[in-house]
Symmetry: D2
Subunit: 429 residues, 4 copies
């Protein structure tokens, strides 16, 4: 299997760090051996973990105030896959890519699939974009897409989603995530009930085109780009829609798509309880849908979310879940942000596996809140870095991926071969 990074280089890198790592790992193993947990099972779980990279995530992101591109950015989906390949070569837990159409349209999907496979990567959930007007559109999504009052626009948006499924089939994807920007900026602008009716009606037509082994994920968001209301604004609306559509329809949680102070781990639990949790978009935030790097603001919350997932999994209440990062890297090299974020998510998952849910259950029954919090905190406080590093080492990835990446001088090299990106400024706010 061809990979973008030279295996020898990684081995050379790892040699420098393996001695210290072995000591740290030995200590870690001795430490957790006191917890009466099966570390091999945990390691196995962590080795099989996968989180998709969004194709748009490897490009510099921006805000309505502007964008500041890096030199050496990818210019097309092939160059983006190259960047994804670097990330996965270094960390090994990002083996799949999530595409966004029409952004990632190509002429030959078979070629794209082969190209990607060559890097040891495959395609995850596909995403549809109905929040922008392309030059060749006859309609406009200015006032909505799947819920537009005009049937012609709805039909276009339905078609766009069905096209996504078709492209996804060619690429080996198994699910479509539907996030619609539809909403309003003014009280009275739309009838909330009729909008939801139109949403369900449109989604049914998309749902009807799903292959039998596919799923469709509904992603909710309270606001932006609509600043007064949004059609699928919360998990309640998402759940109702998924329930109405059928078994293949599930809910997707983006960590940034919640009102201030929301207890997100509880929403995770609710959707597991209702058998409607399908996937995640990981990121972190301090104010709104900030799309910051995962775990950069509240890593304990990320851990509590994985606590719900791990607990449910151990109780056999959880089906397979699609994980994806969905971040906006406005001021960093996206490759570095994605590497660190994936590791933070891996870290949160690893820590959640150190919790003994049987013991927790016992003390929950006794309402021993101090014990319960402390039990979670003990797992959270353990430094699982050696475990994550050893997994990378044993899987042939880099012990210190950021260090490795910086030594590559990747951007500088790419800036010679890739066209320079210049973003037009956003003149109007």
């Amino acid at each position: 299997m061809f990979k973008i990074i030279n295996k020898n280089q990684i081995e050379t890198h790892n040699k420098k760090y393996i001695n210290n790592l072995k000591k740290d790992y030995d200590f870690f193993i001795r430490k957790v051996s006191r917890l009466k947990i099966n570390i091999n099972n945990i390691k196995n779980e962590l080795m099989n973990f996968n989180i998709a990279i969004p194709s748009w995530g490897v490009e510099t992101g921006g805000t309505r105030f502007g964008k500041f591109p890096l030199k050496g950015e990818p210019n097309n989906i092939f160059e983006k896959i190259e960047d994804c390949a670097i990330i996965n070569d270094l960390i090994g837990i990002t083996k799949s890519i999530s595409l966004h159409f029409p952004w990632d349209n190509v002429e030959d999907y078979k070629e794209l699939r082969e190209f990607t496979k060559n890097y040891g990567l495959e395609f995850d959930v596909v995403n549809s974009n109905t929040f922008e007007d392309l030059d060749n559109y006859k309609h406009s999504y200015k006032f909505g897409s799947l819920t537009h009052t005009n049937k012609n626009v709805r039909d276009e948006a339905i078609k766009l989603n069905i096209d996504c499924i078709k492209k996804g089939i060619k690429l080996g994807s198994k699910a479509l995530t539907v996030w619609i920007p539809d909403g309003t900026n003014y009280p009275g602008q739309q009838d909330f009930s009729k909008s939801l009716d139109r949403y369900i009606e449109s989604m049914k037509k998309i749902y009807a085109k799903l292959p039998s082994n596919w799923k469709i994920f509904i992603e909710h968001k309270p606001f932006e780009p609509g600043f007064y209301s949004t059609v699928i604004n919360d998990w309640g609306s998402s759940y109702y829609s998924a329930k109405t559509l059928g078994e293949k329809a599930l809910c997707l949680i983006d960590l940034g798509h919640h009102l201030p102070n929301t207890n997100i781990e509880m929403i995770v639990s609710r959707l597991i309880y209702l058998k409607k949790l399908g996937g995640f978009h990981f990121n972190d935030s301090k104010y709104g849908d900030d799309d910051l790097d995962s775990g950069s603001i509240n890593p304990f919350m990320l851990f509590l979310i994985f606590n719900e997932l791990t607990s449910a999994k151990q109780k056999k209440h959880l089906n397979s879940i699609s994980y994806m990062m969905d971040q906006s890297h406005n001021i960093t090299d996206p490759i570095e942000s994605l590497i660190l974020s994936a590791i933070e998510i891996h870290r949160a998952y690893a820590k959640s596996l150190l919790i003994d849910h049987k013991i927790l259950d016992k003390f929950q029954k006794k309402n021993d809140a101090i014990f319960c919090l402390n039990h979670l905190k003990e797992a959270f406080n353990i430094d699982v870095t050696p475990l994550l590093e050893m997994i990378r080492y044993e899987s042939g990835n880099a012990i210190h991926p950021i260090k490795f990446y910086r030594n590559l001088n990747y951007r500088r090299k790419k800036s010679k071969t890739r066209a320079e990106k210049t973003y037009l400024i956003n003149k109007i706010i």
Copy 2:
């Protein structure tokens, strides 16, 4: 029919103001005649409007930092009904009272019903209190009630709710509102799924005891007294529970029970859409569950909520809804706050009736957001005070109820006959 306020006094009061009112009302009628609406229908709607007074609302409220009682406060449910009677005599749209058990326990419910009927009042929804331990309790609600991990405590809470139904039947009530304080203060303290399971299980037992013509209302709240999680924390959890229980179970919206920035009118719309809206607890808030006077912070939002209700009613999508004020009058005379709040709610309803929903519908279809907002704003900007005053006048209530009440010197008189209230300070925070 016996009433607490002397009719002649009201007539004398009204005589002073009727001339100006007639001029204002004439102008109002001429003004709205341009709108092509049937003002008689609107007036009829408004005359039939009713909003319940909560029995606890006529006493001074407080915070965890203390309470500051008024002289002349009511000491028992009979004195409270007396205070409710004054309010309704003055404004005429608060003909019912909502009781709270065990706070309003009496020995003879028949006597209480007769006493109340004498004032032209009746009993609305009953409420159960499982957030406090009384001296004679064998159990404790410290760690929950209907969702407690201990079946004995759950059974006590179930029994308390069923007792509420029994008392309500004697009093002529037709519904029970269940708000539970159950929640946690610590991550990990409870299993969110098991708590919800226990909730549904307990509620089923209460539901089974509902008379055929009764309803049960589920009230959600995101936090307080639990500050990490709450079992029935949002409309999604409330809706799922109501759906699972059956047709008699409906959701109740307390305006203060939402996270920051929530679009509450959209939740109103959702629950109407799902045929699960049962009732309201009206109040206003700036920060959390502040329990401020209705319409005192954002009267336009109150209007938007009534816009949803009126729109649904005109489209025959709305069944009867229970309205109640649920406010904490910490620094005002509760009678004054309740009078003003009821009028503010009446005002919001009146303005919503001036919206032409057919026209609105037409421009919503065209995505004419400016027209739609402006159409709502034109209704909101009209001063409906003369209409509300004329309705009070024609119903035999007071044109200026606060002025009338202040002239009564009611508190001073009551302070001679009612025992002085002294609240123990809350020594521990």
Copy 3:
């Protein structure tokens, strides 16, 4: 004085509505005559009211998810001034324009000033833009402007601001508003203290270049485009900076630049108290810096803000304040939004003038909260529409400006002469 709209057309329009308006106005005068206020003074105040239009506000705004231009949009500052002129011809209270540099750079500022004067308009506060990189920049604002760690970048940003002052002098402006996007996306990214030091140091250099009759306004914002921290994030930081700079430095409040639940009217009061309030950017919001139309979400809050201003003015505690709208019109015709927003601001101001602050003061002393709220509510509930319309009528503007504007078919006409705008889609999020 040459104006863009034909006076005769306005007169024809007004003739259709003046009879009803006279009746409404008569009623209004009789109504407020009961309040013992001098309506002529109030009318005078309202006639002299002015709120600036931001030059960028007449173009369609957008979000990071895209923009949807209208046909017939202005393409340059001259066409923008044409649009501003229409607005002011119709409503008469938007006699000034606020420019943004380098967006509004022209070769000949004298020509621009003459052009603008011909429309009866003048230039208000100028604004500097250091949140975008233009093609000809040697530096980049990616990591900040006035607070950048690199002195060269700071110097460029200082120069850009000083250039704004120079341009403003040519245009007849009297103040510069400085809003900087400087902030961070990651904990640890910058030292908060050093950033503030650099800010003060840079601002001192700009301040030194202010003409003696100029002011400089500091605009704070809690987040966006920085999503972890912002250098001038709240009124405390703004006040400290203005205090340190000197008398010509004042604080500017943008209504959307506050954390959830902020009591904005209290910040208005604080800055008046500290003699540091300089100006406003008006808009409304439900979630964050939504830039919605003024008064569209919480008109009562807008009224409370004007209550502070009017109260301070009557007590001679207020100097002149610069008012400007700062909104993003993403889905409406910006001209319509600006007309309605200016009227909503005018409305809030008018209502605040109906408050009797001496009476309010008296009851505040007695802690009669119900009286005080009710006194505000009585002013708020009065429909001042006839007053605003009569002021427009008497000033030669349109009684119903939106109706007038729609009859103009302005956009359709302009779409024939103005180049079509096409916004590039924002490919990366």
Copy 4:
């Protein structure tokens, strides 16, 4: 020195755990030796760390919905000091107690001081309570204290604060914290400027009575018990007041007293920058002023706060800061909560000492956001538990204080000697 817990018992306890601890500690030392930091200095800092216990914190707290006392609770300040002594005997970093007057009034302050000294404890900052009316008060704080419109009430509140200083002098305290509940529930209820004027005027009188070596701390809070406005609502108002009063006046930050999404570490930085940071009230929160256990919701934020403190200390920008826990232990044994919270605060401080601020500074200058975040994260991810345990061990405290405490059966024993607490239910909401 007499202590409440038998030294031998602690030694026996520690013997059981010291072997594992030594291994963990050895590993920790080897691990951090790679960081090129002086671990002895760090250990020294951590050994000298002290955080005060609030006297009210050892009693069960509550909400406006009720309180659920434990058996064996303390009934007076002497019993409370006994409980504080247990905590400090076990963890050694809580050597001082913060009293609250009039709650902790005694007849003989000398006796109280001796009693406390016997336990190896001393008195920290004293606090004044003007949010409750005691039976013997002639006035009422219902409408405010230091800012009341009535001078008599203000004078009483001033006197109460001066009495606190007098008591504090007898007890060996060196500072007074002033938190006032003064605020409003209704728009218009008070004039914001006049309230602040009265605050400054009252505080000047208290300030005048401060001994030369005393400080006065101003604690701000955005809401509760006032739900529309609060006089000292944010750091801006607090800073202005402290600045106006003089050098002895400083600002105190309670972690729970901020609006949603506030960047608290930035406020810490601002007050350090302005040389006005005086102290902290530690707790954690998810929704409002939840008073949850420190570090239980967002331990990374606690670490970021200590990052600011440690960074400033290393740069000699920080004077001595008063640390206190201010939590409400509604459902746990307060002793357990306080032990765990103190350790969490100790932990956050320890981790902040592992940051190399010179390196951080270097990369901040280069705008290397990824490096900077990662540098913080590396310190945060290190498990400092062995360090904290070793410090306790070497100081003669318990390695596992919660385990030790639970074996004591302290509550059961106390419940035999201490009177049972029964809280009256809060009948009115």
